[in-house]
Symmetry: C2
């Protein structure tokens, strides 16, 4: 078996980590202590050999012969994903999408939502899921004072580049972008651009194939 | 060059199609008529050989030597994705997330939102983005009368299986699930489960790697 430890992890493998994490979390909730690589393979829709290859990037997670230890893998993958770092977040844009994300409870994944920001005076000072909405003029000082790690952006397309630049200027470490416009790279700061309609198009493909 | 036409298309390739579609759409908006496979490769972060392999599943889209014809590929990939089928949708659950999706304007991708459904009497009869909210008791008759293709589900986890079963019983062709619970398979009906926090976890991984 090849040992991939210390080799650069391909982005497809990184993208599978959150799925592994969710699956191990479900197994843990069901009180399952061990799972064989074949059972995991069936549940995930990934071959057992692919799973072994993926895990080898992180040292293998050991003992495949006896199956994977669910709680150990859940914690270890969570660690690799940085979910135990206590990363803090703000949501910029308190419209329907911003509110939906505030209610999503990312705390379960280790993220602490510290504040929301908007320009609409009518909602400044109100709360969503116990988190206060502040005026966007307060954003920079809030990010600095509270050491905010992640900016969640649900502002209109036209505003996205300027808001992202403002956040980068005050030390944000990552941007999660829901504006439907691909953000330009910002001095090496990690950015995840979310394209909700991609999975609707995938669904559409599958429906058409069936017809 | 191998010809992959008629071979089963791997799901990773299917997942890249919406991205190709978006990129060709952007190029089209910029008035660009042709793009070389190298330039496309750089823009997409996928190797030129991978792009050729992907396209070969659909007959190759021809003439790589002169570059890909942007408008032709945009239309052809849209066709493959079923975006010209005029698929109709409903949104079940008119909370923040349902409203955000109603405002997203999937019409740009060829989907027609025909109605929204909820149990909250206070919002029944009101409209979001010109689409009416109906009582959930009307859902089955509405789906049958309007030949609805896709159900977009933003209902709580506890309701998701029963709502999905009700939609399948009245002939829905696909389900786009935002309930954060993985839907059980339903008689071979295509389902896309959306896990918003997966990309937040990917972002978290990248931030941790940088530290």
């Amino acid at each position: 078996m090849s040992d991939n430890t210390n080799r650069k992890v391909p982005s497809v493998v990184i993208k599978r980590l959150p799925r592994y994490y969710r699956y191990f979390g479900e197994l843990l909730n069901q009180g399952i202590k061990r799972i064989s690589s074949n059972a995991l393979s069936e549940k995930m829709g990934v071959t057992a050999s692919q799973i072994r290859q993926d895990f080898n990037y992180f040292g293998g997670f050991g003992q495949q012969g006896y199956g994977y230890k669910v709680e150990y893998l859940y914690n270890t993958i969570g660690d690799i994903l940085g979910l135990h770092e206590g990363y803090t977040t703000i949501i910029v844009g308190a419209g329907n999408l911003g509110r939906a994300l505030a209610n999503h409870n990312f705390a379960k994944r280790g993220f602490r939502l510290m504040g929301m920001f908007d320009i609409d005076e009518r909602i400044i000072g109100s709360k969503v899921n116990n988190v206060e909405i502040y005026h966007i003029d307060m954003m920079e000082s809030f990010v600095r004072e509270n050491n905010i790690d992640v900016g969640i952006l649900t502002v209109p397309k036209s505003e996205i580049e300027s808001i992202a630049d403002r956040l980068c200027a005050c030390g944000i470490k990552g941007l999660w972008n829901y504006s439907y416009a691909e953000l330009k790279p910002k001095n090496n700061i990690p950015i995840e651009n979310v394209h909700l309609s991609d999975s609707l198009m995938t669904l559409s493909y599958k429906i058409k194939q069936k017809e």
